[in-house]
């Protein structure tokens, strides 16, 4: 008998390791709208399988918890049962010998805090408070509710123009979204249960790249009503588009030279080429929208005038002011600018020359990546992205961060900016940073604290601050529109409490968010302004969605959108993304599980054909 032996995995272990992966993907692909109590019960059952069986709280306690949770779900519980669940979980948390036990109990305790009323609803009325409804995951998660399975099926049949028509029913900026949408639709794609989420944005890009110019539908008969839209960004333009289709006369007031808002003045050309942006804008304008550029509401024309002149007003001014980081000498130093300022110039094609410069970017969001990657393209010698937390905590999309790194940007994580070093002419020479260390978890993510090491100095000629934007709400507040913490205080219907006929939505209400959320707000505004004006126009699309096919067996990888080589693309502002081939897009579209037909959708939660 040998004294030691190499540990090898047996077949069962190998298999279960693979199933762990399946389960991980399944959890990620959990459909929105599940019952939290039911899930808690399921989690505890899994924990029960993990228990080693030694200590009482874990072995017996979790079993009892599981039973009590089932009692709640089966309608066999009273309100006292909740107290017993809490007591049991607290005891397990306090006394289990290892994390298998006490962390399982912690999940139950967290659940009791987070959705106690759900427990009560199950006990009292045998139902779920959220009235859990499993809709189509991608559509439910798209703020604008775009018919995603519908257009994927159309792409699969190479009916690209029809795909664009279908998208426009809910989102008049298909090209923009094909290029830069954050694609929340992919987050819980049910295909993730099989292999990987469908590359939805990629397929939309295939549609818009191949559709050619697609005319918009005819506008309804003129209603004689007029609507002013303040702000020519994605939200304002979306509202203008739908209101025009409904037969209202819309005038957009835009304070800058051109329409597009943050799409033009916040997103560089390599991500969203101007001619692609203009394609969407031109389609929207073809609905008969009137535009006044370089008119600032509050300066050139007052809200009072607008209110008098128009039957309704939609405020969609976005969030365009920069936020200061609050470093000593920030105001006097030369060579410190905001991301907003830098990108705005680029938006008007005023390209600065960063040749030979060392650029430091402060921030970890998508805007920070935009300025970092733009700096590379403007010739910067080095670009360093300074961030207080870790790379993993950055709010930018992972592909944006990877893109920046591939193009030569450095990420200095766990560095908190604390000061600026200037030469005698007040030009910045260094950013002083205090190294941080990862600390305890707070609100679900690791917090950081000052590490016990000396400050560091990062040499630089230019500091770009990308830590968020504010809203220029002053002139609207003066008019009597409520403002809360700098943002316009509007309801979910985009109406403003007690102010008839004025609506507001998008970034100026929510704070800086995504393009698709601005578009969704524009759509909501259009619907509610239409109702306010006394109409009930319906926006529909007569494109027939292809039937499902039955040949989607087998597992496939996800086809990503190919990109130009980093070394090549970083030299110019030309688009960095290429496109999928037809062959690729057909395979990728074929992975769609057609949740619009299979599953819950054929019963309830199916296609919304009009709004």
């Amino acid at each position: 008998m040998s004294r030691l032996s190499i540990v090898t995995k047996d077949k069962a272990q190998i298999t279960i390791e693979a199933l762990y992966k399946d389960l991980e993907r399944r959890i990620v692909a959990s459909p929105p709208g599940l019952c939290p109590v039911d899930l808690t019960s399921a989690f505890i059952k899994m924990c029960l399988a993990q228990t080693c069986g030694k200590c009482v709280p874990c072995r017996v306690g979790l079993k009892q918890l599981s039973k009590l949770l089932d009692d709640v779900l089966d309608g066999n519980a009273t309100l006292e049962t909740i107290d017993l669940i809490e007591l049991t979980a607290e005891s397990i948390y306090a006394s289990a010998d290892c994390a298998i036990g006490y962390e399982a109990a912690a999940m139950v305790l967290t659940g009791l805090k987070g959705y106690r009323e759900d427990f009560e609803e199950h006990i009292l009325h045998n139902r779920c408070i959220s009235n859990a409804k499993q809709s189509i995951p991608c559509v439910a998660l798209c703020p604008a509710g775009v018919d995603i399975p519908g257009y994927i099926a159309l792409v699969k049949e190479k009916r690209y123009a029809d795909a664009v028509r279908l998208i426009r029913k809910d989102n008049p900026m298909p090209v923009v979204c094909a290029l830069i949408c954050e694609h929340p639709c992919e987050n819980r794609c049910k295909r993730g249960m099989v292999d990987y989420p469908v590359n939805i944005r990629g397929l939309k890009k295939v549609a818009v790249d191949n559709a050619g110019e697609v005319p918009i539908p005819a506008c309804a008969e003129s209603t004689g009503k007029t609507v002013a839209v303040v702000g020519g960004g994605p939200g304002g333009l979306s509202a203008a588009y739908y209101l025009s289709l409904m037969g209202h006369k819309v005038t957009v007031y835009e304070q800058r030279k051109k329409l597009g808002g943050m799409l033009r003045y916040g997103i560089p050309n390599y991500r969203l080429p101007r001619e692609r942006l203009d394609a969407d804008i031109n389609a929207i304008l073809s609905a008969g929208v009137e535009v006044h550029t370089e008119v600032s509401v509050g300066k050139d024309i007052s809200m009072v005038e607008l209110r008098e002149k128009y039957d309704a007003v939609y405020i969609a001014i976005g969030a365009h002011t920069d936020k200061k980081i609050g470093l000593p000498s920030e105001d006097e130093a030369k060579g410190i600018i905001s991301a907003v300022e830098m990108l705005r110039g680029i938006g008007d094609d005023e390209m600065p020359d960063y040749s030979g410069k060392n650029v430091v970017v402060i921030g970890g969001g998508n805007v920070a990546m935009d300025v970092a990657r733009s700096s590379v393209r403007l010739g910067a010698e080095t670009v360093t992205i300074v961030y207080r937390r870790t790379k993993g905590d950055m709010t930018a999309l992972p592909e944006e961060i990877e893109g920046a790194i591939a193009e030569g940007c450095e990420v200095a994580e766990l560095m908190a900016p604390v000061g600026i070093v200037m030469d005698k002419d007040k030009n910045v020479t260094h950013l002083t940073v205090q190294p941080q260390m990862i600390s305890s978890i707070r609100d679900g993510r690791p917090s950081v604290r000052k590490a016990d090491v000396p400050e560091k100095q990062i040499p630089c000629d230019l500091i770009v601050v990308a830590i968020g934007q504010g809203i220029e709400s002053k002139s609207f507040e003066d008019f009597g529109i409520p403002v809360k913490r700098g943002a316009i205080d509007a309801l979910n219907s985009n109406e403003i409490k007690d102010v008839k006929g004025i609506f507001a939505g998008g970034d100026c209400v929510t704070g800086p968010a995504t393009v698709i959320r601005a578009i969704a707000a524009g759509k909501v505004a259009a619907a509610n302004i239409d109702e306010y004006l006394g109409f009930h126009h319906e926006i529909t699309c007569d494109v027939k969605i292809p039937d499902v096919s039955y040949d989607n067996s087998g597992k496939f990888g996800r086809i990503n959108i190919p990109e130009r080589e980093a070394s090549d693309r970083k030299k110019d502002f030309e688009p960095f993304e290429l496109g999928m081939s037809c062959e690729e897009s057909c395979q990728e579209a074929g992975r769609c599980l057609r949740c619009d037909h299979f599953g819950y959708a054929s019963f309830r939660g199916g296609r919304t054909e009009k709004w």
């Binding site: 039911d38 779900l73 039937d547 019963f603």
Partner: protein
Amino acid sequence: MVNLIINNQKVQVEEGTTILEAAKSVGIEIPTLCYLKEINEIGACRVCVVEVEGSDKLVTACNNKVQEGMVVYTHSGKVRKVRKTNVKLILSQHDFRCATCIRSGNCSLQKISTELNIGEMPYDIETEKADIDRKYPIFRDASKCIKCMRCVQVCDKIQDMHVWDIANTGARTTISVRDGIKLRDSACTLCGQCVANCPVGALRERDDVGRALEAVEDKDIITVIQIAPAIRTAWGEDLGLSKEEATINKLADALKKIGFDYIFDTSFSADLTIMEEGSEFLDRLPEIKESKLPMFTSCCPGWVRYIKTQYPEMVSRLSSAKSPQQMFGAIAKTYYAKLLNVDPSKIFCVSIMPCTAKKHESDLPNINAVENGKDVDVVLTTRELGRLLRKYHIKGDRLKDVELDQPLGMHTGAGVIFGATGGVMEAALRSAYYLVTKENPEADAFKNVRGRDGWKEAEFEIAGTKLNVAVVSGLGNTRKLMDAIKRGDAVYDFVEVMSCPGGCVNGGGQPIHDGEDFVDARTEVLYGLDKVNNLRFSHENPAVLECYNSYLEKPLSHTSHHLLHTDHEGWNMPR
């Protein structure tokens, strides 16, 4: 056209056809359970699964469409195995003590189980615990519910009432009344369409047969039966009688054999209803024209329940006339009691109705003409009638035609067509014409209001007055009509509403034939009987005329008002 192969047989069907329909077109039956054509095509039960070449998953035939070149196997080994497993899984949550179930012999789950030769049951049976409100006209036994969702869909899509809803979550998903309330506390109209479309015995009507038989067996009690017009279209279905064989006179024979004393016809009181409602309409016509709001018929109790919760502001537009069932009860316990020279309390009035809501109507607190007791003591649905006949082992082929008793068995063709959508309107117009012009119109002059459309409209002229009328059936159609009236988009003088699509022939109390449509066949019976009747005008019913002469005086008289009209505001719906 799409070409495919089903079970090695070439099939050509139109694009958009489901696999189920394509198979049917060449005589291949694919079993279904949850499927309800155009209403519930959700693939929930997975009984209709078939094998499609190229797909490792089975495909439901009910809601998937044919594709060019598709190769389908409807009964392959894999299909049979899976189908059988799925039925066993359904059975594992179903109380299948069939011998005790009212749907035994007419249950889609029982049928498919037998067809699949289920044999052994490997799973434990775990049924949902059922809290059953057996006293309400309709109730649900959760231990039998197979969650096919048909009741939800029928109430949503046909009736647009949304009474039933999904409750609970995940594996515990089940059906309950919306918002978790009790059915008796809901706005349910009691139309019974959910019951009529339940494939198993989960939804059913209250059984009142026992109460009727107690009266039969009480020697001191005179039992009087009224048979609604629509019964004659369907009562024989359970006994295997053809439409020609199943006459109302054979039914009279059967009921006499059981021991009921007098067999009458609700068509008599339908004629009476026409006299009252027609006169009321002519009375109200100037106001109707002025307000541009119609008078609505009031004979359908589901509709009356509906308007009271959905359009309470329109309740005053209902005719104040009682329904034929209640007019009959009132007459039986007053005029007829007098004819028999007995105290009304000695008369026990049983009505046989195609309807579940009628059970509630007879219980309304302000509906009775007699001081003590009820005008209509017990309401039996057609299905209860079937069970009653079975209880007495009555065989269809042994029955002979027996005349109905008089005078309350006297009826006209106009009274008979009440059972079909448009019938009340047509009968009313026939007599309204007479009341205005003192001449009879062509009997078929108003046949434009016949037919199965959910919302029909017609324009007639009587003595220079234009009348715009509408006829709706099904509460989903009713909502559309009511909204149009409220918006001012539709202006009518007189509107007939029936809760059940097609009218009483398709009532929620009629015999159930899962997946089969009997509406047209039943409707044909009524119009056939109207056509061959020598009397086709309610105002020519001699028994009705005699009743007015010797008792009521005239339509809308003081006595008529007291006995034959009601206050629809005199009772409340839940909430």
